[in-house]
């Protein structure tokens, strides 16, 4: 009974931790970009202020908007939040471990994306339509690669539950695994595409014609926009956490260590997140955005990497057995 309470407590901490740090991570990325552009940059807490401002502001909704347009932001935030809470961050063996399934994660994110794409088309503006169609093109290319990456990990660790994969990788003898390296490259590409970052999309652009994510949410304002922004920031944290959890799990508190190991795990996790956000900022200033149709080749590359990874994982397993 006591254990359950502790695990629930740990899970609650994780849920609110990701929610709390998500805007800050976005703030760090923006700040790093600004510094590279020789600008002062907004303070790291700016995204928090923006969210508070948006929540306070009136929400303007188009006259022909349906219930979908109004309710989508809440559902999108909910899906993304649950997904972000499932990815092991500072400790494994928390309350919802049994649910932290890689496939569930993909399904949750897919549902959020489908809702956003529908909401983008709901009001019937041309930019919303462009954004939704581009988003779905990117999604159809990114999702298979993502699934293959997760299956590679599952194949290596023998389970699709993320905490157990992480535990396995921590405990397994350190060897150079080519398949994991390939999977990492694939996952990073997918993460860039899914989070609407350069070179696939530019989160900072004002050019409607080039937007993907921003085009879909152009009609949103006020608290609706705050939900969507929050969901986007959560998604970024989710992907960095996922990469960290699958490929750099060291420092994570193991399932049997109990709450005493959590502070260390949390500190290590936060350092990794900040590093990830800073690296993203540096990456974004060093490359141009792609032509829209090049995105297919880019994500195709991710698929090839993931495919090779799973192939190698199979072969090595056969050899080891």
């Amino acid at each position: 009974m006591r254990d359950t309470v502790i695990l629930l407590f740990g899970q609650t901490i994780q849920m609110f931790l990701v929610l709390l740090i998500a805007p800050g991570i976005a703030g760090i990325t923006r700040r790093v970009k600004a510094r590279f552009m020789r600008r002062q940059g907004a303070p790291i807490i700016q995204p928090y202020r923006d969210l508070i401002k948006l929540v306070r502001k009136e929400s303007v909704v188009a006259q022909n908007a349906s219930w979908l347009f109004r309710s989508a932001p809440y559902a999108i935030l909910a899906f993304t939040w649950v997904a972000a809470a499932l990815v092991p961050t500072f400790a494994s063996g928390l309350m919802f471990n049994w649910a932290a399934d890689a496939l569930a994660l993909v399904a949750l994110l897919g549902a959020a994306r489908a809702l956003l794409a529908l909401a983008g088309m709901d009001v019937g503006t041309s930019f919303g339509g462009i954004g939704s169609s581009r988003e779905m093109m990117i999604a159809t290319l990114a999702e298979p690669a993502m699934l293959l990456v997760l299956l590679t990990m599952a194949l290596t660790a023998g389970t699709t539950r993320l905490p157990e994969v992480a535990e396995f990788l921590i405990s397994a003898p350190i060897t150079v695994r080519v398949s994991l390296a390939l999977a990492l490259v694939a996952l990073i590409i997918v993460a860039l595409a899914e989070n609407a970052r350069i070179p696939v999309d530019n989160p900072a652009t004002h050019l409607e014609l080039t937007m993907v994510h921003e085009a879909m949410v152009l009609e949103y304002s006020g608290r609706h926009l705050a939900m969507i922004e929050m969901a986007a920031q959560l998604k970024l944290v989710l992907y960095i956490s996922l990469i960290v959890c699958l490929f750099l799990p060291f420092g994570m508190a193991p399932a049997n260590a109990g709450p005493a190991a959590w502070p260390v795990g949390m500190a290590v996790y936060l350092v990794k997140l900040v590093l990830g956000a800073a690296l993203l900022g540096a990456w974004e200033v060093s490359i141009a955005k792609m032509r829209v149709f090049r995105v297919g080749e880019f994500l195709g590359g991710a698929f090839v990497f993931a495919f090779l990874a799973i192939l190698l994982a199979f072969v090595t397993r056969e050899v080891l057995n």
Binding site: M37, R134, I198, P199, T210, V285, A288, V292
Partner: protein, 505 residues
């Protein structure tokens, strides 16, 4: 036997002497007028400008190879003249503007829709009253037919801080099938404002036609006025004008290179170029007392002197500029992800550039070897030495490279002019006013600006007309985007960087 219709302006102009402004003026009949329009379409001469005065229509024609510039005039017959656009499409929007603004009918104009007039003017001029039905009609964009085609309307209000203009894309998924522009949102009535104004007032108006080309417009206006009055500016003023014009070119080309990179999301280059541009503008402010050097060139001379300290500041600026800009160029040249965006995007064929007489970087990036400073030199450029930036690629990349090379040549030109600078007066005394006319062409950063004025005997403007380089560049943007994808439009548009204000007048 009937005399054959001459189509070449050169054939008409034999044995005629050019005025002090370098233009040959010629009265012709409608038959010759139509012939010359056909000659424009055949490539025998370039259409420079088209405007109407009280009772005549005028057409500016240029043959750069022969260093020949002609203004032909045809009298209006019952408020109409034969359409040039019927034979030479480049004149189409000019004629639609003329009809909207003056109520003069270009007979046979293929496009009957409004252009400047959106039917929203509170008190339209009486000459337009008879066109009430046309003015009130909804604007019909050109139709596109096909399965899965849909339209995207962009503007006139844009997300960025830019001027208003409407773009109607007909697309099939991402591929652009047709782009149609609609302008007129920044119409200010420049010509009407100048009518009856004195020279100084009109100078201030001319400087505000397109704020980013304020030096070039002031320059062209001053040259036109000086040609009309046979007014000679002092040597120091001539050089200072050149220095200002080149500083203006420098600042905008640097800015454009950065802005093009920004549209490909290479934010670092944009940041560098923005810093560099700010440096240039501050130096301009320090030297001439205005960041954009507005109202510093006036008929008869210049309104601001360059001190010795100012000249040193410019030399120091050029030294900084040379290192910083070359660093930007190096990154641009060596970034494959950026080149992937710019190379082969937004192609303008050499043939189209010639047909539309596109000036500036748009023309020179498509192999049209025309630079007013070299083909029809004026002011200090007669004595200066520089090479034309010419590329044949016709894509965004070529337009970037033309700008890069012009930044380099502008810096060299400023250095040459600073060396030639000698002390002396800034203004010369205005000659006695007389009824006269004058025209001038100046190479602004976008291309050749054409200005013509007619004065009465009290030195007041009877007629003023200016033609922005954008008039012949905007139509090419519609062609450049064809076959590209919607998402590449901002990049193409930025590589053109045409003026809305200059076009709408």
């Amino acid at each position: 036997m009937k005399r054959p219709v001459p189509t070449a302006a050169a054939a008409l102009a034999t044995k005629l002497r050019a005025g002090p402004d370098g233009f040959i003026r010629l009265q012709i009949d409608e038959r010759d007028w139509i012939g010359l329009a056909m000659g424009c379409a055949q490539g025998l001469q370039d259409l420079l400008a088209l405007w109407v005065d009280d009772d005549a229509a005028h057409m500016g024609l240029g043959v750069p190879a022969l260093k020949l510039r002609i203004i032909v005039s045809v009298p209006l017959k019952r408020g109409s003249f034969p359409s040039v656009a019927k034979n030479h499409p480049a004149a189409c929007r000019l004629e639609r503007s003329i009809r909207d603004l003056h109520g003069v009918e270009p007979k046979g104009l293929p496009d009957q829709r409004n252009w400047m007039d959106h039917g929203k003017w509170p008190s339209p001029p009486p000459s337009l009253k008879k066109d009430a039905a046309r003015r009130d009609a909804a604007y019909a964009f050109l139709a596109t037919e096909g399965e899965g085609l849909h339209q995207i309307a962009v503007g006139p209000v844009h997300a960025g801080i830019i001027e208003p203009g409407h773009f109607r894309f007909s697309v099939n998924g991402e591929a652009v099938v047709r782009l149609e522009e609609r302008f007129g949102y920044t119409h200010k009535g420049i010509a009407a404002l100048c009518k009856g104004a004195d020279i100084a007032t009109a100078a201030r108006i001319a400087a505000r036609i397109s704020g980013d080309s304020t030096v070039a417009y002031s320059y062209a206006y001053a040259l036109a006025i000086e040609a009309a009055l046979k007014w000679r500016p002092p040597p120091r003023a001539i050089l200072l004008r050149g220095i200002m014009a080149e500083i203006e070119r420098l600042s905008h080309h640097v800015n454009d290179v950065g802005a093009i990179c920004n549209d490909a999301s290479v934010v670092v280059l944009h940041a560098h170029c923005t810093l560099l541009r700010e440096d240039i503008l501050r130096t301009a402010n320090q030297c001439f007392g205005h960041r954009m050097m507005m109202d510093r060139i006036v008929p008869g001379g210049v309104a601001a002197d360059l001190s010795a300290a100012g000249a040193e500041a410019i030399q120091a600026l050029l030294a900084r500029c040379a290192t910083n800009f070359e660093a930007v160029v190096r990154v641009y040249d060596e970034a494959p992800s950026l080149q992937d965006r710019t190379v082969s995007t937004g192609n303008v064929s050499a043939e189209l550039a010639r047909r539309f007489g596109a000036g500036g970087h748009v023309g020179r990036a498509s192999g049209r070897a025309f630079d007013t400073r070299l083909n029809f030199p004026y002011g200090p450029y007669e004595a200066l030495d520089f090479a034309m930036a010419l590329h044949a690629g016709g894509d965004v990349d070529a337009r970037v490279w033309v700008r890069i090379e012009e930044v380099r040549s502008s810096m060299a030109l400023i250095r040459q002019m600073l060396k030639l600078l000698v002390p002396g007066p800034l203004m010369s005394v205005m000659p006695r006013a007389r009824a006269s006319e004058g025209a001038a062409m100046v190479e602004g950063f976008r291309g050749d600006i054409f200005v013509t004025v007619r004065l009465d005997d009290r030195a007041r403007l009877v007629n003023f007309y200016a033609r922005d380089p954008s008039c012949f560049q905007w139509p090419l943007l519609e062609a450049a985007i064809e076959g590209n994808i919607v998402a590449d439009f901002p990049l193409c548009n930025k590589s053109f960087n045409c003026s809305y204000s200059g076009h709408d007048m």
